[in-house]
């Protein structure tokens, strides 16, 4: 983590946080028809109880709530009903050069489809303009099979580059599309609290900094923006030694994705001497079967040149060989 902009010792630390997931959704009988039609470069709607043709199709009539089944093809050409201009496209949007979002009423439809129009500039789009779907070279059964819409009368001389097709779920040859996959990637700036930032900066110097809750007197490491018992920030700083005990532990026998140590190994709650809250760390340096509740341990630090603002500066904890702490001395920390 790094402190943003004008760093002072008190500026909270922050770091980019990127999260992503490929959402996989089954389409069901109604949207299934729609995406399978898209794969064949056709647009399909459904007729509602009031006679209106909904595109994209809706599963239930918006007014009567009856399940709708009267499917009908509509044109891949229609009229712009409203539009707004995107001067700086965002990640993931259909076009990566300026474009218009538009509500488009396709010929034969009564509701509007939302999609992008590759118009070039805001002066070249207007309500009432006729537009036509530009289909992807390879259609997969996804709304993005329509790359965008373009003007019927004056399509752009230099069509915008089409983004890559979305990922496709496994399906047998000739089978209809039953699921759609939508990758979602989001980017954040994650901030540590002022209390956590002091703790993380301490770690970079090889120090373990806790703080005491002014109400209950408990020493938290890491310190907290609010004591979970009292709802007030922890305040008085307490420097803690790198020795403590194992309160409870488990032996990891199961391999999993991203595992960095060969099982079996021990993940334990370590209660530092003078702290009231344990944290999770590794216990190495002895057989997993030798680890006990109450066992005395000491931090094994990585070489100083590898330290940064992280608890990973401590590679693991290892036994000191001192006598175990009696159960009564840590029972209330379990």
């Amino acid at each position: 983590m790094t402190a943003a902009e004008t760093e002072t010792p008190e500026t909270p630390l922050s770091a980019p946080l990127d999260v992503g997931f490929d959402y996989t959704r089954s389409v069901g009988p109604v949207l299934g028809r729609f995406v399978n039609a898209l794969r064949e470069r056709r647009v399909m709607g459904v007729r509602g109880d009031d006679g209106r043709v909904h595109v994209p199709p809706v599963e239930y009539d918006p007014d009567t709530a009856r399940a709708l089944t009267d499917f009908t093809d509509v044109a891949d050409e229609g009229t712009v009903v409203s539009w707004s201009w995107v001067a700086e496209p965002l990640e993931g949007q259909p076009l990566q050069r300026p474009f218009a979002w538009a509500l488009i009423r396709l010929d034969g439809a009564d509701t509007c489809l939302l999609h992008a129009v590759d118009a070039g500039s805001p002066s070249k789009i207007s309500t009432g303009m006729r537009v036509k779907a530009r289909w992807a070279d390879a259609t997969v059964g996804h709304i993005r099979d329509i790359v965008c819409f373009t003007g019927v009368d004056a399509p752009p001389d230099d069509p915008a580059p089409a983004p890559p097709a979305p990922p496709v779920a496994e399906q047998a040859e000739g089978e209809p599309v039953r699921t759609v996959i939508t990758p979602i990637h989001l980017h954040y700036l994650h901030s540590a609290s002022p209390e956590e930032s002091r703790y993380l900066r301490g770690l970079a110097e090889g120090r373990l900094l806790g703080q005491r809750c002014p109400a209950c007197g408990k020493v938290y490491v890491p310190p907290r923006g609010a004591c979970p018992t009292d709802g007030v920030p922890t305040t008085d700083e307490v420097e803690l030694p790198d020795t403590g005990i194992v309160t409870t532990f488990c032996i990891v026998n199961v391999p999993f994705l991203g595992q960095r140590i060969k099982p079996p190994y021990v993940a334990a709650y370590i209660l530092l001497d003078g702290a009231d809250i344990a944290f999770l760390h590794l216990v190495l340096g002895c057989e997993a079967s030798e680890v006990r509740m109450g066992m005395r341990v000491r931090a094994a630090w990585k070489p100083r040149e590898e330290w940064s603002t992280t608890l990973e500066n401590i590679a693991h904890f290892e036994p000191t060989g001192e006598p175990d702490a009696p159960y009564e001395s840590f029972a209330h920390h379990l």
């Binding site: 959402y23 709304i143 002022p194």
Partner: protein
């Protein structure tokens, strides 16, 4: 069933970016303290806690659990959460008191909108099959709605700038506002488009913030506030999620929620949750609020739009006018979703 009243309200300043965490603790601790001072209650007196926030805004799972640290939830508390604006958390708390389960409740909302790219994050509240995969951003969608009204002759760019100028002028008296000041309509109309047809003044700012309201049964309320703001009606309704299905220039859900909540002509002040200038006009029209009704004396969401608490702030501001003795009957509106999809209306009266 017992009546329910607002007896306390506090909010954090609306700011573009806090240095705090996404769990809101730093914003919540001081405002919890503030409402406890206002009401004389302590955390042990609160029968039910309910919050509104969003994991997508925070970029982490179960972010609302971390926020509970701000309460100091020991001994264990009776708690709930909605992944919506906290105005809907208030609705849940209102039900708890109405049903006689508890006689006090504390409702809070928080959001650090600045942690991600807000208009992109909000694309994820859209239909996940055929709309969200295109990543339509919240500002562009509002632009489609604004243009429909302009071209139908329902409002003009000048009408929108007037809403913005009035909001900013009123916000000058609100110490929590993010945007305020005297601006001429002509000056605003001279600025470039951000998302044609919308200009910067048409769009609520990106805001980090939090707010808290304390509710009590009418009986308890008399001991907690000199002039409790009794909720005489509250209701929320939703329109079709299909953006191309409904008439975006109207808000039938606001109209029906308003009717159910008893929104009448005798409202003195209305706090409307309109993150875009044209949406204020749609909501005013749907609620039938005439010229005599004072709209958004706080400056409204256009001058500070803390996600997941801006709706709660509207209820708080409407209540504050009664708590302070400035009004006898006020109205609050909250919205959620794209282009005013879901709407809540509350009517408050001096008890």
């Amino acid at each position: 069933m017992t009546d329910v009243a607002v007896v306390g309200f506090a909010q954090s300043p609306s700011v573009r970016r806090t240095q705090g965490t996404t769990n809101g603790v730093e914003m919540l601790v001081p405002i919890f303290k503030e409402v406890f001072e206002q009401t004389g209650l302590s955390k042990r007196d609160i029968g039910f806690w309910c919050s509104g926030s969003s994991d997508y805004l925070a970029g982490r799972a179960f972010s609302f659990i971390a926020a509970i640290d701000a309460i100091g939830a020991f001994p264990p508390i009776h708690e709930s959460h909605v992944e919506m604006d906290a105005a809907w958390a208030l609705y849940e708390a209102w039900l708890k008191i109405r049903m006689g389960e508890v006689d006090t409740a504390l409702v809070y909302g928080f959001g650090k909108s600045s942690a991600g790219q807000l208009r992109r994050v909000l694309a994820l509240q859209l239909d996940p099959y055929v709309v969200a995969p295109l990543w339509p951003d919240s500002i562009s969608l509002a632009g489609l709605q604004a243009r429909l009204g302009m071209e139908a002759g329902l409002w003009s760019e000048k009408d929108l700038a007037e809403v913005a100028a009035r909001s900013r002028r009123d916000a000058a008296g609100n110490p929590f506002a993010q945007v305020s000041g005297d601006t001429e309509v002509a000056e605003l109309l001279d600025t470039p488009f951000v998302a044609d047809p919308l200009r910067a003044h048409d769009i609520a700012p990106v805001t980090d913030g939090a707010a808290v309201i304390v509710l009590a049964s009418a009986e308890r309320a008399r001991d907690l506030a000199e002039r409790p703001a009794v909720i005489t009606g509250i209701d929320h309704r939703v329109d079709s999620p299909g953006l191309g299905v409904r008439d975006l220039t109207r808000s039938p859900s606001t109209a029906s929620a308003g009717r159910a909540a008893g929104a009448g002509t005798d409202v003195e002040i209305a706090e409307l949750h309109a993150p875009f200038t044209h949406q204020e006009l749609i909501v005013r029209d749907a609620l039938g609020l005439g010229e005599q009704v004072r709209i958004n004396p706080s400056g409204g969401a256009l001058t500070g739009n803390p996600m997941f608490s801006a709706g709660l702030v509207r209820i708080g501001e409407a209540a504050r006018q009664i708590l302070a003795g400035n009004a006898r009957r006020t109205l609050a509106h909250a919205t959620s979703g794209p282009a005013l999809q879901q709407n809540l209306v509350a009517v408050l009266e001096r008890g």
